[in-house]
Symmetry: C3
Subunit: 679 residues, 3 copies
């Protein structure tokens, strides 16, 4: 057992002599796992009544013959052309109201009965053929280590079938129209619905102006986002159930996309046996961002390890500018995934396409089929390193005492909102708070608002716009027992229907925070209001400035400019044995980091390398209890730092004594396993 290594492989695009070459190169690279059949629907079902497994048989058979493990896809991420021709309703209607015709991928209406029937049937037949007790060979079920359903679920459809699905979903949610009218505030602008059929999907043809974030009725749009997320989940569930008819055990997953707004992964996670995701960061300065995303993905299933299902070894293709990963980055980022909980490190893809839109997407094997490219060489080196590591990290858990709340409903509600500011972006606020933790070396679980918070010393809840159910009470409990809760401007504003709380801002968080917000100012990003923190530290606030009237809270930081100069911008409220911090303005990173540092410091959670910029520390604890510390140097320079524990570097086998000097080259990685303390 070891960390799985390999990635997407599409030999069906190539003649068989290429397959031979590929597997020789896979041997060189240490590739042990291949993801097969992700877009094979058109090959596997070439006509309505015809299933033809000859290609997939050969592809799967070859992998088994070569001794690889298989992540087998159901292949339903794109439907065949004949299906779109025969059933035009299987394609999507877009936000502009246009029925699409055959093209692209991720192109099926999730509500289409034909799509639902045929996609499940395809999954059923594939599972029956390759994984069931009647599989064509015995070796295949054994080789299959995971099911890959669909692909990167996302987008949206606005067709009449989805409209009908939406109405049914609403009936379930609201029961009757009175409740729905109340939830959506339909008295505003004469929107009272008198019949379910009057309800339309919110789109450019109905409630929206300018685009998907600009709606006349936030409640309708919010519910459509929830519905659409659920509709696609139903597609996943369809296929998983079909697989389970033949294969009751092999874990089933689909590849998520990190912080992907359209799908509420918290609503999905329970249905996946493990989480997997595709990591395509926006640029080469995204180490902290990737850490957040790994933590989010790990948090979806309560800390259970996940798979890094896709990453490019070199460059992407779909962006305006597709920069190359520098030497060492492929390795560094792969280890970062492991540090945050990955049990598999896979690439998209193993061999580059010849044509179409991904022909310039990076791959382990390029168009010339060489093994002496720089990229292939690095892939092979990492393969060897992973082989050396073996099973040490498999199944390990992150021992975090800090929780960061991440909430799709708050994300949606905040960014759909008209006012106070379109420029406040949920991800950016969350990123700043996570960045502070990352800089300070604190392990963190990024969790849903429904998560059990009883094990955490610190809970950060940035931009918690919507407060649902008993969340406020659970946050109060954290503070009562001595913990610290931090929240920010634009939190505690709306209930689960996106209606404003009829109380002082921050709504149900007001007691914990000990403040009320009387009003708020929004300004262009060029306008800065300095905030004075203790010890003369001045930081900058931008975009949003809430005017706070303390209701028991202590004033920590104050605005320095404008007519509200001298009023509170940051407060701390003693609550039970702990505290509630309220950050009323869009502080810069220095300001956010100052707040987080105070909080971590109180709980003794500042990591050992907090003073080393871009040196990342992450901890995991192996199933046998062995603590491991990952140290990664994301900076461009070598760093010299003292060992914080005694142990063995699993990548080199070198033993390290606590306090002894360590040198990490740029891109350097250390995986220090500490001896377990006695039983």
């Amino acid at each position: 057992m070891k960390i799985r290594y390999g990635g997407d492989y599409n030999p069906e695009q190539w003649p068989k002599q290429v397959w031979e070459q590929d597997y020789r190169l896979f041997d060189l690279a240490g590739v042990d796992t291949v993801t097969l059949g992700v877009f094979d629907w058109a090959l596997t079902q070439p006509a309505p009544d015809v299933y033809d497994f000859s290609t997939l048989d050969a592809v799967v058979g070859k992998a088994v013959a070569e001794g690889r493990r298989i992540c087998l896809a159901t292949g339903t991420g794109a439907h065949p052309a004949w299906l779109a021709k025969a059933h035009p309703e299987v394609t999507r209607v877009d936000f502009e109201g246009r029925r699409h015709r055959f093209g692209q991928r991720h192109n099926s209406c999730p509500s289409s009965p034909v799509f639902r029937r045929l996609s499940a049937e395809l999954a059923r037949r594939i599972a029956h053929r390759y994984a069931g007790t009647e599989a064509i060979t015995e070796a295949i079920p054994e080789a299959i280590v995971a099911w890959h359903v669909g692909n990167e679920y996302g987008g949206a459809c606005y067709c009449d079938l989805c409209a009908a699905g939406f109405r049914a979903w609403l009936r379930t949610r609201y029961g009757d129209l009175d409740r729905l009218n109340d939830a959506w505030c339909t008295t505003f602008w004469a929107h009272t619905f008198t019949d379910w059929d009057e309800i339309e999907p919110p789109s450019a043809l109905t409630e929206h102006w300018r685009g998907p974030d600009h709606t006349a009725f936030q409640g309708i749009t919010l519910d459509y986002l929830r519905f659409m997320s659920d509709a696609m989940l139903a597609n996943f569930v369809d296929e998983k159930a079909a697989i389970r008819e033949s294969d009751p055990d092999t874990p089933v997953t689909t590849n998520f996309m990190g912080m992907y707004r359209p799908i509420d992964y918290h609503r999905w996670a329970a249905h996946l046996d493990f989480v997997s995701w595709d990591n395509y960061p926006p640029d080469d300065k995204s180490a902290a961002r990737m850490a957040l995303t790994h933590d989010l993905m790990r948090g979806l299933k309560d800390g259970q390890p996940f798979w890094l299902m896709e990453q490019t070894p070199s460059f992407t293709a779909s962006r305006d500018v597709n920069p190359l990963k520098r030497p060492g980055v492929l390795r560094l980022w792969s280890w970062q995934a492991v540090a945050h909980g990955a049990d598999a490190v896979l690439f998209f893809q193993l061999r580059a396409n010849r044509g179409a839109c991904e022909k310039y997407h990076g791959a382990v094997i390029g168009h010339a089929g060489r093994s002496d490219t720089r990229v292939f060489t690095e892939v092979a080196q990492l393969g060897a390193e992973l082989a050396r590591l073996g099973d040490a990290t498999l199944g390990a858990r992150t021992p975090a005492r800090v929780a960061l709340l991440f909430d799709w409903d708050s994300w949606w509600a905040l960014e759909l909102s008209d006012g106070p500011s379109r420029l406040v972006r949920y991800q950016e606020v969350v990123l700043a708070y996570h960045r502070a933790l990352w800089d300070l070396g604190a392990d963190v679980d990024v969790v849903a608002v429904t998560a059990d918070l009883s094990g955490y010393d610190v809970v950060l809840a940035p931009a918690l716009h919507m407060v649902k159910d008993d969340l406020a009470a659970r946050l109060e409990s954290v503070a009562e027992r001595g913990g610290t809760v931090v929240t920010t401007f634009l939190s505690g504003r709306v209930d689960s229907d996106d209606n404003a709380f009829l109380m002082d801002v921050p709504g149900p968080l007001g007691g914990l925070m000990g403040v009320r917000v009387d009003e708020w100012d929004a300004r262009e990003p060029s306008i800065v209001n300095p905030v004075l923190l203790p010890d003369g530290l001045s930081v900058e606030a931008r975009l949003l400035f809430e005017l706070v009237i303390p209701q028991g809270a202590e004033v920590v930081g104050t605005y320095q400019a404008d007519w509200y100069a001298g009023t509170p911008a940051v407060t701390r409220n003693a609550f039970g044995d702990g505290h509630g911090w309220y950050v009323a303005a869009g502080l810069d990173q220095a300001g956010v980091s100052w707040v987080v540092r105070q909080v971590l410091d109180r709980h003794g959670l500042i990591g050992p390398y907090a003073e080393f910029p871009d040196v990342e520390v992450a901890r995991r604890v192996a199933p046998d209890g062995t603590p491991m510390v990952f140290v990664l140097n994301h900076s461009g320079d070598a760093v010299d730092l003292p060992a914080v524990a005694t142990g063995v570097d699993l990548l080199t086998g070198v033993r390290v004594e606590h306090g002894s000097p360590l040198r990490l080259e740029p891109g350097g990685v250390l995986v220090l396993a500490e001896p377990r303390s006695g039983p």
Copy 2:
């Protein structure tokens, strides 16, 4: 009698216990007038054959019981969902050719017979129930002080019903196709129409490229703008006529939107009993712009006072960034409205919505229902101040000797034009000339090109692209009798069909201006041509540079750069006893202000505080002849200035002697009533 104070109020969104709270707060705030029922169609007519007045009865009844005056809306600004479902043609087809479905507001096709019938019927029934001799109680008709038809008319529809309406409108305008083909220059690009039915609304599917301002046939698009403005006016007229069946006297209005391009308010004004408008300036530096808009609104009906129907007490919600009005701004801008002719000061809205797209729009009463917010406090202070003022300003008139021409046709023609420059924007040109007047403290009437100009000493006609009917002759009369006319580049270019005059530019204005324009240069905004004015003053010109050959005019300013350096940029032509000034280039504000200062100076029209930046002066004369001077300090600093008249400050009752020192704090307002000179 006093200035009406209050605003939009939507108690139908709330349970009745909230209504009680509201009226107690209204009492505190001095709210005497409520606008009711603006979006109540879905409540009042919940089904095709059902009218249900129970909610509106309660809402209106409560207001009457609480002794308020009512501005009663017909509620047709948004149609109910059942109507869109039953009659899909009641929704609009947009510029892209897409039929919309139910959603948003201002969503009805103005040409739809169903909409026209049902909207008029709703107005008829409401008027009958609340305002007629058979009204449900006698007290209600008395309480109703105005009718509010529809809401913020605007947008456009491109459906087949509108196409048919357009053709009918064209038949009326042109009589026969030969005349139409000639007006539209259809020989160009093979556009000769041989049947009325061949004519399509100009849209993205027909004559337009890139967007609504880019058309292949300016004449078609211009006529469609005129038609659409008229089609919506017909909707207003429908409802007004229905109201008049029960209520022959109460004035009828609808809320305009200031400089709103799609609707030619000059074509509408005669049909309104008084003008009202909604003031949402783009930012907090808009004092001069608001002054222009107030002057424009007042000018629609020959100087008759108007209502400020809506303004926010704090912030808007629909913008990307919604800044807060600073302390004192609510008061200052309210008084500015009064200074320019408002007899009512109303807010949108009195209580904040809980949900949907205006939940973060500012309101007098916020979500927490407090009376101790800063905003509520300021509203209440203004309420008290208005109460103290009483009726002193009601019905007062502005004694302007300057007219500024504002012409929707020129606006449309200029901005639809291909060439010379898309960057020349009508509003910006007009704003610069008005700004010069504002800075110099000259009262101005902003009037239609059809207005009687015989009472003015100065007429400014910036960017008068289209010259219709006898306008050129009337402008010549102004100069002949000793007045001054100022016009600019891109004036006198086209006739009422948007066809170029077959004569030298500036067409029929050439005689008055004493110049001909041989050619013109357009440049990116980064390119500046300095213009040298007398006394060595150098100002900047941008965007458009006409090359002028004097035909009798005196050269006042000359270009300083490019191959036409030394040629005229500003000229003055003696005409009769007066002058015609021609400004051939896009001068900066300093240049425009220099020109306007010369003109005002000649006529003795420079105000007393011209040297005090951002101190606004406006005059009104009460019906009894009492002159009043409003002085408003828009600057951020206190200013000390001498009193320019002897009188009483109506806000404080303090008597002021001519020449005595006055101090105006930032945001300060003075309303100085001068004793009438003897009869």
Copy 3:
């Protein structure tokens, strides 16, 4: 015989008294040629069964009576309104999938049978009436010197008729679906087509995202571009054949638009009897760009002289900002056209429109009909100058020893590609290499990749993304025999199906270049990597950086930054008796010019005025063998330079001795005819 002078003339828009005025002005201006009837379809065929030539008879008759030569249009560039009404399928469906209604121009679906039948019929009837042996008067056929079919072919249609046409075109190209599936890589994303009818035009509703350059299947989109270009060519061919029924001899053309991406003019050129084009450069700094475009147009038909069919005498109208041509520019640019091969210099247009979207487009005669405008004066001066020149340049050829490859397929493939960089634009790369030639005064033929390269010493092939057929071998031949071939980054990437070559980059060019590209980096334009060239010259590279491993080539320039500092950025490979240069990065103009200078220098091709910035030199050789040198001063300053030959300036008749000093004023032009050396 002389250079034709005149332009588009639309007297049908005017009453006949204006015609008289026009011809008097034409006399003054030396206008000898008028282009008539370009948009007359609606006049000529006012109803399905009615042809009415009365207007065109008068227009043509007047021109003949006035002794002018006629370029007669078929008038099919815009269809009549009645046609769109009667046959809605004659309008286009746009990229967004929207069926248009009547409007604009260039508005006909090229695949519409009705359009094809009626447009050909119109051409047939016009040719029969005016050009055949049965023409209405004998004088007319004689006056007609060229046929102008349609107008500025371009745009695209995505309707069902085009879909059917596309499928038929694909059947012809690929024969069977297996071949098509292979060419398009349809195994990717489940796109295997099992029936021709499943294929849809690639649009916003099918394969595209974001816009026309963003496609999921480059091969489909590329073929659609080819098909659409061919479909419009078929329209041209239809009309030409119809003309030929009556007129077997008069040359037939249509007006091209220079570097116009949608139409592959190389696929069209053989069908035109001569090339003509419309020159509307983007700004007044476009001298080099225009030179490239003239060279491209001349290269379409192997160096045969072309017509400058349209240029504005002053300004355009369709741009956001339409700057005025400064004094002398009209003349200078007209002579530049002649220098590069024009046998006609024509304007759009002779009299300005009154209305619609071109009313502010510059014209020889403005709205006031004056002959004393600056523009008219310059037009008349040029007319006189051309008259003096006579036939000296007619039919002359450019004696170029340098070829620049220009390839629409590479243009399309490069700009449709996902990855490496959307910021690399084909035109910009080509422009930089041509600019280097232009600066250095080397005559160049801009030719298709299928051109005979055997006569050239130097072949530049910038951004030759697609390498088709035997091109690589033909380029190798150039080097073998001692010539030099230069190519760049992103060359040699794909085959004619847009599939990557399964070999090292630059594919089949690798042998000639002696390099392999291992990988590549793309970066934002703000990121510069300096490239060090010999003699310490440092230039800048941007956007794309290929990492090169020499396979025999000599390293000429190296990167100076990033982790690949010191690796090759420019290489030269000895091949046969010549060289292959490879420029691996997006060099700035200084870098490109350095490379080109080395290459030209080796072949003795640097022009005489290479050190005079913005002084253009171009050579032509008259049919009788007389060499002519055109020298044009595009700089803003007068330049003094030595005569490089002995001869006579054809514009002044002044004799010039080799080596004697010459002075060229800003905008100055010299046409030096050298005496022929003896037979």
